[in-house]
């Protein structure tokens, strides 16, 4: 391009750089984000895996080295699986994993049962109401997660809004314990993760062809029958995407069990965080993370597959 040639005869370093960039731009565009993800997303997992097979040591960082040159110039490789054995034999850890999965599966189902009619209701709204309703659903998604959890602390506390209201109405005499129970954790997860269920469902339903429902009705199908035979199968991709977007992160949730469950609800994300920050037992924390990742690897691959298919289809 002529406009890149300056007044001077010899090209400056900047111009040379510009020309090089123009000739190799395709490679540069691939390499920059690729290298970033390799370094800051993929490589860290291998380091976590490496630490998970080390032993706790009084050192900085507090674990033994995997590869070490000992005095006689001998290369030693030390790999111990004690951390994994410790986790899998300790019923506390095993129960916490099971409890986390139980809570996240239940919350996913609750989000689906509540979110599906909400998404369908938006899709079926008129041209004026639709963007407004969509905005109303997206707004909480953008509002601070932490503050939405905090809002429930005010509602559920012993001296909170719900108990005060029920006592004032004479329904109960003593406050019901809701904050710092497993009920509060379920409520918090369903509340904060609901938009992740509604938005993919909406995107999927929006593309449905309304004439299919009309055709079914014309052929004498009742609305309930049409829903189960036509609408539900067609919205399956949305259901799967939404469910995975809720299930996977909810399993490792830390903030909600900590703030709404107090010490009474054990979830693996909270155990991992505490293992790490309070006990500073890095090898065990790393092993806890690897086991959690192992449990979630299948759903994550499934999500990647559907995400890839969705972007190719559109």
């Amino acid at each position: 391009m002529s406009d890149t040639i300056g007044d001077t005869t010899a090209p400056s370093a900047l111009q040379r750089l510009g020309r090089w960039a123009q000739s190799r731009w395709r490679t540069i565009i691939v390499v920059i984000p690729f290298a970033w993800l390799l370094l800051f997303f993929l490589a860290p997992f291998f380091i976590v895996a490496k630490i998970s097979v080390a032993e706790l040591a009084i050192a900085s960082p507090p674990f033994t080295k995997m590869i070490e040159w000992t005095d006689g110039g001998i290369l030693t490789i030390r790999i111990v699986f004690d951390n994994f054995i410790y986790i899998l034999e300790d019923s506390l850890y095993v129960n916490t994993y099971i409890n986390s999965l139980k809570i996240s599966v239940t919350c996913t189902i609750l989000c689906l049962l509540l979110g599906y009619p909400i998404a369908y209701g938006i899709v079926r709204s008129g041209p004026v109401a639709k963007p407004l309703l969509l905005f109303a659903i997206i707004l909480p998604f953008w509002t601070s997660f932490l503050l939405r959890v905090y809002a429930w602390m005010g509602l559920l506390a012993d001296q909170g809004t719900i108990n005060n209201l029920l006592i004032a109405m004479g329904v109960i005499d003593e406050p019901i314990r809701m904050l710092y129970t497993v009920f509060a954790v379920y409520l918090g997860i369903v509340y904060t993760y609901m938009p992740f269920m509604i938005l993919p469902l909406y995107a999927n339903m929006e593309k449905l062809d309304g004439s299919l429902n009309e055709a079914a009705a014309d052929l004498g199908s009742r609305p309930t029958n049409t829903f189960f035979k036509v609408t539900l199968p067609l919205t399956m991709p949305g259901i799967i995407a939404g469910s995975l977007l809720v299930f996977i992160p909810a399993t490792g949730e830390y903030v909600i069990p900590d703030l709404l469950g107090g010490g009474n609800v054990q979830m693996i994300g909270r155990v991992l965080f505490n293992e790490f920050s309070r006990n500073t037992d890095w090898p065990v924390a790393a092993a806890v993370a690897i086991v959690l990742l192992f449990l979630l690897v299948l759903p994550i691959i499934l999500f990647q597959y559907y995400q890839g298919k969705a972007s190719e289809a559109s």
Binding site: M1, Q22, R26, I29, V30, F34, W36, L37, L38, F40, F41, A43, P44, I47, V48, P61, L114, G115, P117, I118, G121, V123, R124, P127, K130, P131, L133, F135, L139, P140, W142, T143, S144, F145, L146, L147, Y150, A151, M153, A157, Q159, Y191, M194, M205, E206, L208, L245, I248, T251, G252, G269, L272, F273, A289, L292, I300, Q304, Q307, S311, S314
Partner: protein, 281 residues
């Protein structure tokens, strides 16, 4: 798809919206409570806002750190996420595409405790090996945030890229524009609405993150969520209600602006399509 909304759907919508908004509305109302005990109402007051504005330097230090991180993060995440989206949508097959695509969407669902822990051990290993990053704080939090927010930007930009199609790009190429020129003169301008919403999304995601920042931060570097979390762990606090009200208001305004921008763009696109269809006929 429009259609008749049954009574059941209308009821579910109303319950859903009430479920979403009642907790937040109560949070805002109680920020104007005079009482030090959040749920005990004792008259309207703005004393918690006064305390927040004039007597909370630590809060403002945290706000300033969070905004700085969010700004740098949003800018880099938009750049990297856009490049990644271009690679995924326009570059066809290349070696490592599956790995690339996988790494790009995995951060969307990866539990935060895993991402946080793994980035922390990376930063510590890097420091051992090459002495960088010397201390954890602004830089490490920003890098961590870029890594997960670029995935959100990539998804947003990818949708727009497939949406606008390649017609204009092909036309420009036919008229003799070099690929690089096509990219800067056609593709990037077409992407502008997605770039703006991607930037805003990355900005809010960064402002919102507690878990990953808690892992990768160092002594003394408190972001706003870290500060809020350390306080509400001990129970309800009226000054946090006031802070929450300000944040909710700020976010609502930003989202409204973004929504209006997107809506206008959507209308313009529809009009262009109609015009194009009219010319064809």
């Amino acid at each position: 798809m429009y259609g008749k909304r049954s009574r059941f759907l209308t009821i579910m919508l109303s319950i859903g919206l009430a479920f979403f908004y009642i907790p937040m509305i109560l949070l805002v109302i109680y920020s104007f409570n005079y009482s030090k005990l959040v749920p005990v109402w004792s008259g309207w007051s703005i004393r918690w806002y006064e305390k927040l504005l004039f007597d909370s330097p630590d809060v403002w230090a945290a706000v300033s750190l969070s905004l700085k991180i969010a700004f740098v993060n949003a800018t880099f995440a938009t750049l990297l996420g856009t490049l990644a989206a271009l690679v995924m949508v326009r570059f066809g097959r290349f070696k490592g595409r599956t790995l690339f695509g996988g790494m790009l969407v995995a951060p969307l669902v990866m539990p935060e405790v895993i991402t946080g822990l793994s980035l922390l051990v990376l930063f510590i290993s890097l420091k051992e090996a090459i002495g960088w990053p010397a201390e954890r704080g602004f830089t490490t939090i920003t890098i961590a945030h870029i890594t997960f927010s670029m995935a959100y930007v990539a998804v947003t930009v990818q949708a727009r890229l497939t949406g606008v199609g390649q017609t204009l790009e092909e036309a420009a190429a036919d008229l003799g524009a070099k690929p690089f020129k096509v990219l800067t003169a056609i593709t990037i301008p077409q992407l502008t609405p997605a770039l703006i919403s991607g930037w805003l999304l990355a900005f809010t995601l960064s402002l919102d993150d507690l878990v990953i920042a808690s892992f990768v931060t160092g002594p003394g570097a408190n972001t706003l969520p870290i500060l809020i979390f350390s306080r509400i762990r001990l129970g309800l606090r009226p000054d946090i209600n006031a802070l929450a009200t300000i944040i909710i208001l700020f976010v609502a305004i930003c989202v409204a602006i973004a929504a209006i921008l997107m809506f206008r763009q959507h209308r313009r696109d529809l009009r262009d399509q109609q015009l194009a269809a009219g010319e064809d006929a």
